[in-house]
Symmetry: D2
Subunit: 311 residues, 4 copies
């Protein structure tokens, strides 16, 4: 920025660094999504296209060069997404406004860009754009980080059970929304599950995992055959229809060595010009979408979450 | 959010209110736009489509229900935009993260959504999405606020003069970019203007105002014939092609009474269902795009900026 | 501080600058002074020695080299004191913790040091030391600053009227504290004053100004005869008994030019070695204690407060 | 505080809570102590009276009711003192300004109050009062906390070795301060120790531990014979001459159960009215002054520091 006699106004821009060694969790929340989801006729209680779109946008955030691979875990439910930075991240000198605005903007950009692929028949409108606000929360201990994600997963479960009952009562039981609300008021979890079973023959436990547990993006190291890679890696081609994420092939390969951080140029080459070889390459970090139980310790000690709290 | 034994993690979300009576200026900056503008072959030194798109996105931010009419002025140049909140804004309790992420997200959403209208032949790509980071700066006095915008306008001028010379030397003078850079190194403003005139017959003063002074969105009160209004108001219809902004009709009518703030519902009705009457209505606040001199006091005392620092 | 492999821990010391152009008001509050005042048998409703001691400590803070003359006004009542920094102060780079701890410490040091002069028969004890906590509040406008001091003065008045009634009922009316409390519950200001007059013949308006309005330290420019100065200036001699503050001579001369800030050495010389001359010197800034009305504009426009909000 | 039309100014007092689960370390630094120590002829390179006074003031801070026993460790050298809060402290809702001003004030109060006992022949003066500024730094991990104290202890060692050499050269070697400075410039630690030995027959390792390692206050649980307790406990009696701290009896007994926090009244009773019994009581937490090595793990795992990082 050019200097002038007015440059003194820059001094008002105060520093806002986060602490050097905290775990940073950045959570995005859809703004006004009640209205937004109505306008686009989201399926109740869960709209699979909307969830897939959220997951695709989150994948783009985590896999992109912008975040340098420093987002080590993501968790999404409904219209919210939480991202965990690796503890030692030095991205943008850990400046609060910079990080929160950057991720909010990137997620929104991806969501808006990808929209037509997931809702081809319900185009966005200028007066009802998708918007996400964000905040960063700092945690000190591994337990706190695990409990954060548990908090969100319990929330997912409670909301989904309620919504499943509510919309079943309305859609299959022909209750008004008010009646459904009264019916459910004050009921326990077990009573809700019993009601689903006895009145509608539904076994809540057999509902899809993505609805009950939310979505988790996690990095895993995998041997990948390069011929496969060529097809899978090019997720960044916006013109291509993104495959459904629940299939087993749904991952992004990013050749991000843990240290040192690659330069932007190197990273781009890798993304854009994967070399065609047919023998197995060395392990790569790839993003994998899972719907695991985060409450039990297993996920963190021997499951996909192993190592996520290190470094 | 549902309560659970893990809810204690919410306590880590610390309050971050800004001071109650400061002027808030939120500035967005394009991230990686050097690369982004190359990828989409932006015209040098200025790409009119890109500037128009920035202005349209900014208009959407200022006019939208989300900001409740509390953004009283906008200033854009290149890939950055600054927004001034009215001093007394209580939007989202003046929480820093909330405001900066919300505006970053909304601007990005509008920019991405509008892109195809301004660059129909150069579609966005997944690995190079438009992103904007943001920060909020607090000012205490009217002089500081005026000097902030002067700082940005002087920056616009200095950069534009340099870029105009640089690209003229390259495009018309057939210099390499390195040669052009050497040629301009250390030259004064007057020397640059003289060079443009003597070697290329260009009068810098006759360059377009939008390039020399940047773009200013400002609210004005206007009598509007309702028949006109019907056409102009419906800017929020995303399917319609947005008119070029340089024409004299380029404004948004928003019937936002200064007090009290209208409820969301009222506001929407006004936006969506303007009543067809043919006689003049009472004054409305409409957004107007101008390219005025902000350095002189005139803009602030008797020009478009009059009143912008009140309330 | 010496460097070592452990020096990285310094990076955790985050910057905490206050905004560059806000008015800073630092308020100190006595901690546990209810108990403290009982232990030392403070006179009820007001103890003149205790107020004088507060004022002396505040004078020491404002006049001292440590604050460089940047405290332009002080206001005290009961066990609290507020200090206003000049708007443009750059003291300690406006770091919040630095300023608040420094002033809290200095005030406490002076209070503890001066104690024996005001309470010679009631020595301090180790388990009940005088302590003051502090906070800095930022204001943007002159009105806010004036209203801050008005807020404190109204508080002084309301508390003093209540306490005067309460203790008069107890001391002269022989009520128990509980009965006095009941008697006053829900009464208006006018009723309290009427009660004092009709039952005890007391005219509240004739109570001492220091009790009704609090104490204000303010800098004034005065011509001072140097022979006088010699006697008055040496307020920094801790062994000397400090004169009562209500006498007309109670001021501190500090030769602090408004700009530029004198170096520590220069300032000390002035304090310690006033030259003995017998003709009037140029105007000096001296601290003056007043008990004026801060509610009306007069104090700020033509009274002692004139100029206090400039610079 | 009484309400009035001016009470709105309170809204400017922004919240400043520290994170809920960080370790808080509050460090105090003497302000202008170079001058202060000269004025009172502190012995060079170390003044034992001054160090003892610092330690006594720190003990008063840690043992006092004001901090509720939440300061679990103190470390002092020269004119600085660092205090570690227990990780889970909720004192004053962890408000930054409140804590930093409170501790700065309390330490200063104790220092000023105790001064005459340690420097009976060199009374304080009004224009040169002892002042301490403070700041709170947040740490996340036990390693960081240990490294903080190691950082301070290494600093103690480096400074003391330098000062010991410097003042020995001046006092015994008859060098000027300038010559001593030149002589030491660029020398290694080993060279400094060799110089002390070969030229002055001094073995640095035999210098007093308090000079080489600084002073550490730590809580220990001890069986105390009540008859002893009676003599030792009453440290809060300001009139009594405080015993030298290096003797083995130098401790403060505070009957603070770890949970729940005792009410002020209970706590005071314990302090002021220890019951005279002659048989051993249950273990109490007592403050003990040590000069241990903090670099090695031993202090933290099996030494006095065991348990200090818990809770």
């Amino acid at each position: 920025m050019a200097n002038s006699r007015y440059s003194y106004v820059r001094l008002h821009e105060l520093p806002d660094p986060l602490l050097p060694s905290t775990f940073l969790i950045l959570r995005l929340d859809g703004k006004g999504f009640h209205k937004f989801s109505s306008a686009h006729n989201f399926t109740k209680p869960n709209d699979r296209r909307a969830l897939n779109l959220m997951n695709s946008a989150a994948r783009r955030v985590m896999a992109g060069r912008e975040l340098m691979g420093d987002l080590v875990m993501g968790f999404g439910e409904s219209d919210e997404y939480s991202f965990l930075f690796k503890r030692s991240t030095k991205l943008h000198a850990r400046r609060n406004s910079k990080l929160v605005s950057l991720v909010s903007s990137l997620f929104t950009s991806a969501y808006t860009f990808l929209w037509p692929q997931y809702f081809p028949d319900s185009p966005l409108e200028m007066d009802q754009l998708p918007i996400f606000d964000g905040r960063i929360v700092q945690y000190c201990t591994e337990t706190e980080v695990k409990d954060y994600f548990r908090w969100r997963q319990v929330d997912t479960h409670i909301n989904n059970l309620y919504n499943t009952c509510f919309w079943t009562l309305v859609q299959k039981g022909s209750l008004t929304t008010q009646e459904a609300n009264s019916e459910l008021s004050g009921t326990l979890s077990s009573e809700k599950q019993e009601m689903l079973f006895s009145r509608f023959g539904m076994n809540y436990n057999q509902e899809e995992e993505i609805f009950k547990k939310g979505s988790i993006w996690i990095w895993v190291e995998e041997e990948i055959m390069v011929e496969n890679e060529v097809q899978e890696v090019k997720i960044d081609d916006g013109k291509r229809r993104i495959e459904e994420m629940e299939d087993g092939l749904d991952r992004i390969a990013l050749n991000i060595p843990s240290s040192p951080i690659p330069s932007e140029n190197q990273s781009r080459e890798t993304l854009e010009e994967p070399k065609r070889r047919t023998k197995p390459t060395k392990p790569k970090r790839v993003l994998k979408l899972v719907h695991e139980d985060l409450i039990k310790e297993k996920f963190w000690t021997s499951g996909y979450g192993k190592g996520v709290l290190e470094g």
